[in-house]
């Protein structure tokens, strides 16, 4: 077998150098059947179609020959075995189908330098790792790198030279010795002095990885051992045990939960992924990932911490369902060449030991270990009984079958739940009836104990007097009400108006001011308001807040105006017709006039359809001299809040004004409403 390995590496060399004498004829690449398509060495030199036909014929021939022997096998197994055989014979096939390579096999003893070349050229993975090493640990300097590769080189050459002479166990021991050696070297020599402890551990890991990846093809499933046979045996064993399900193993893996199913598949994927990894620690990482998924599955199914009592059966279940390729070889490879310290302890070691346990359990599985009668076990093993579970069908059978099984178990579950619900319903009905009776009894007993006797009504004298007094007080209160409740009324009206006429801006500033009465109910700051500049008025925080309200109220409208915080300030205080009741009147809004009007100042206006637009000056006059046609009624006063009257009424929508009116004259810009 080492010969094969050599030859294989030579093959890479040949492709790399492309010597003309080794060129393959186009005809050699075509299908053997001569159908014109290209053939493939994997398919015995046939093209895919011809190969399938060929295989069908072969299978039929075989089936005729060994009719009874196939019966015991579970369907699909022969196909699998075929696949496996192909895999293992791959190397041979390559050599057979391409006779050119046979010549090169004579070079096998040409000495060490050649082998060095092989080692490096045959391993694109190793090259990748070398680049990785430089990028990761290049910062630690040339010395570290040089030393690392020196050790790697001495390790690989040493192992390589001993490969043919020593049994694999000795080589494994040697590898362990080298790991220790390098570990000591890293921890004690000056070269690595500057390297931090973490990086030292990483370096050790990397050493192992690099060496093992370089030597993988020689050390994994070495020809001197019967690992491959063991693989096949365990594969077949697992195949035969495919009927074992979670119940047999006493583990509670729910079959219908989607999360659990996903986790189980994740676990299986991780376990299957082990074969594709090369370094022992990578394989171990796969095992750890797999086991962690198993733990998650169990946590999902039962909740709480997972003990080994539950974990091991679940792992066995996963291994049985996954049936990983070359399981035994992988386990042996890891056992031999993984750094002992990692395998003996730590999480990875624990999970790996569990995996070994699972495999050994599967190997030695008997009827007893599944707690079933010997007869039944044998019947299962012979294929006389077949059990179809959801898992089984998911992993082996077709999708439809799988769904069928899942639905069946789901239905079973549901019917169970229905019966329990029905039972509970009955119980509940009974309980209700019982409760009803009980209550009835209780009520009757209570009634009997304390019979209801209606006696003639009596009113004590002093109580009557009190009542008359209360009536007197009530009348008093009503008299005072108009004054005391005035403000509250206003508030209410204001609120109503606000609610009804969201689209129209109505703010009352002065309506209440005519009425000295109302003033009393308003802010004491009113006095200072008279004659104050607009700015002063702005400083009233509440008026500012209410600007915001104005804005939002009108934002949906098309009317345009600019927000002007001004308030009228003529001492006479012309009443503002812009009262909340305006909505019911023809007047909707009256703009406010600023005290100092600048020529280009844009005043708010409201509805374009009410065309009475005037110049600012006119407006000012009007606003100052003309009384508002509608006098606000005291009772109709309304405001937003306590300070409602202070709120300047500024109908405003900015955008339109800017676009339509700004271009027009000032007179148009500043507006007022006539009534």
């Amino acid at each position: 077998m080492p010969i094969f390995a050599l030859q294989r590496s030579y093959k890479y060399m040949m492709y790399a150098t492309k010597q003309p004498s080794l060129r393959i004829n186009q005809a050699d690449l075509k299908c053997k059947n001569g159908c014109g398509y290209y053939g493939n060495a994997d398919w015995d030199g046939y093209c895919s179609k011809c190969y399938r036909n060929h295989m069908d014929q072969e299978r039929q021939r075989k089936a005729r020959q060994s009719h009874h022997s196939d019966q015991t096998k579970i369907s699909g197994f022969s196909k699998f075995e075929e696949k496996k055989r192909q895999q293992t014979d791959k190397k041979n096939k390559y050599l057979k189908s391409l006779p050119v390579f046979r010549k090169t096999s004579s070079v096998k003893d040409s000495g060490r330098p050649e082998r060095h070349l092989d080692l490096r050229q045959a391993n694109p993975d190793a090259d990748k790792l070398m680049a990785e090493f430089i990028s990761l640990y290049g910062v630690w300097g040339d010395m570290v790198r040089r030393d690392f590769f020196k050790c790697v080189q001495s390790f690989t050459t040493k192992i390589y030279s001993e490969l043919d002479n020593k049994p694999i166990e000795d080589i494994a021991e040697m590898a362990q010795k080298y790991y220790n050696l390098y570990s000591n070297r890293v921890n004690s020599t000056e070269t690595y002095q500057e390297v931090t402890t973490d990086v030292r551990d990483e370096l050790l890991d990397f050493f192992e990885k690099y060496v093992m990846v370089s030597l993988y093809s020689w050390l994994f499933c070495p020809p001197s051992t019967n690992d491959e046979e063991k693989d096949l045996i365990i594969q077949e064993r697992i195949r035969k045990l495919s009927w074992v399900n979670a119940h047999h193993l006493d583990c509670c893996i729910s079959e219908t939960s989607i999360e659990v199913r996903d986790l189980v598949y994740t676990a299986i994927t991780h376990l299957l992924g082990m074969d594709s990894m090369k370094a022992p620690q990578e394989k171990l990482a796969c095992v750890v990932n797999c086991c962690q998924s198993v733990v998650k599955v169990l946590q999902h199914c039962q909740g709480g911490p997972v003990s080994a009592d539950e974990f091991l059966p679940a792992l066995i279940f996963i291994v049985l369902k996954a049936n990983p390729a070359r399981l035994k070889s992988n386990i042996l490879y890891v056992t031999r060449f993984c750094n002992d310290s990692r395998l003996m302890q730590g999480e990875a070691g624990y999970y790996f030991t569990n995996l070994c346990c699972a495999v050994s359990f599967i190997e030695n599985l008997t009827a007893e270990s599944l707690n079933m009668p010997q007869q039944e076990f044998e019947a299962y093993m012979n294929g006389e009984i077949t059990s179809v579970s959801a898992w089984e069908s998911a992993l082996v059978a077709c999708e439809g079958m799988h769904q069928l099984c899942e639905h069946l178990s789901l239905l079973k579950d549901l019917s169970q739940r229905t019966t329990t619900v029905q039972d509970e319903t009955q119980k509940l009905t009974q309980d209700i009836l019982k409760f009803k009776d009980e209550i009835n009894e209780k009520v009757i007993s209570v009634l009997e104990k304390t019979p209801l006797i209606i006696k003639p009504r009596k009113t004590p004298e002093d109580l009557k007097i009190e009542a008359s007094q209360i009536a007197a007080i009530k009348i008093e209160v009503e008299e005072t009400q108009p004054q005391t409740n005035f403000y509250l009324q206003n508030l209410q009206i204001g609120q109503n108006n606000l609610g009804e006429n969201k689209t129209k801006l109505q703010l009352d500033i002065t309506s209440c001011m005519d009425k000295q009465q109302s003033l009393e109910f308003l802010s004491p700051a009113f006095e200072s308001l008279e004659g104050a500049t607009p700015d002063d008025q702005n400083s009233l925080s509440l008026s500012k807040i209410n600007y915001d309200i104005d804005f939002s109220d009108l934002s949906g409208e098309n009317s345009v105006a600019e927000l002007t915080p001004e308030k009228r300030k003529s001492p006479s205080f012309t009443p503002d017709p812009f009262s909340p009741v305006g909505s019911s009147c023809t007047i909707t809004q009256v703009p406010l006039v600023p005290s100092q009007v600048e020529s280009d100042f844009v005043l708010p206006f409201v509805e374009g359809e009410k065309a009475g637009e005037e110049t600012l000056l006119e407006k000012e006059d009007e606003a100052a001299n003309l009384p508002s046609p509608i006098k606000p009624m005291t009772s109709q006063y309304s405001g937003f809040s306590k300070q409602g009257w202070q709120i300047p009424s500024i109908p405003c929508i900015t955008g339109d004004l800017a676009s339509s009116n700004a271009s027009q004259s000032n007179s148009q810009a500043s507006t007022s409403h006539d009534n």
Binding site: R145, F149, V295, M344
Partner: protein, 225 residues
């Protein structure tokens, strides 16, 4: 300061509370040392005793009868064994004795043994007397503790005792599997290391060359003045 790493296997019949005991201990006192996989059956924790850090790696095992044959895989290279039984079950006590026989048959290297009677909160249903258990523990050279994982009684003492046992074991013997970081076989390896370098010097040069060319893409030219 020394660091001792010890592997502790927890053995016992199914349902005696192996996992509960371990989880109780790990949760209680070493919250910040637990490996992130709480809920799994593997834990590692550190105990500091007299200036010596003892790192315990606790391996939980499956207690079912059918997995008994696999147990040797777990306690291979173990430094300590916690053998747990349920004081309310005579059967668990007897099956524990079976575990011990197996253990003694399969493990040659010295080991700290610790018999633990769990579930003392249920002592009214007690089937195994304390004296009986102590007597047995003595006969196999083990220490005996009683605890209740549920009510958190005496769990800490058990592991403390194991840690002290490991320290004693390390002090007494030289041939053990304990990982101690000032190991004495360094000399051995150093010797072989120098030997190795001597034989392989011829090859080192070529390797270094090739590495340099990979690292820099081309050979480094000497700078001129």
């Amino acid at each position: 300061m020394k660091t001792i790493v010890g592997k502790v296997v927890v053995l016992g019949h199914q349902g005696v509370g192996k996992t509960s005991t371990v989880i109780r201990y790990v949760e209680n006192s070493f919250t910040h040392h637990i490996t992130p996989t709480v809920g799994a059956s593997f834990f590692s924790c550190k105990i500091l005793i007299d200036d010596i850090t003892v790192k315990l790696q606790i391996w939980d095992t499956a207690g079912q009868e059918r997995f008994k044959a696999m147990a040797p895989m777990f306690y291979r290279n173990a430094n300590a064994a916690l053998i747990v039984f349920d004081i309310t079950s005579q059967q668990s006590f007897e099956s524990m004795q079976g575990w011990v026989v197996e253990l003694q048959r399969n493990v040659e290297s010295p080991m700290v043994l610790c018999v633990v009677g769990n579930k003392i909160d249920l002592s009214k249903n007690r089937e195994v007397t304390r004296d009986e258990a102590i007597q047995y523990a003595r006969s196999i050279g083990a220490s005996y503790h009683e605890c209740s994982a549920m009510q958190d009684q005496g769990v800490g003492v058990v592991f403390d005792d194991v840690a002290r046992g490991l320290i004693r074991l390390f002090g007494n013997t030289t041939d053990h599997n304990l990982k101690v970081y000032d190991s004495e076989n360094i000399d051995n390896i150093m010797a072989s290391s120098s030997e190795l370098e001597a034989t392989d010097t011829g090859k080192e040069e070529t390797v270094n060359l090739s590495i340099r060319s990979i690292a820099h893409g081309n050979t480094v030219k000497p700078k001129c003045c």
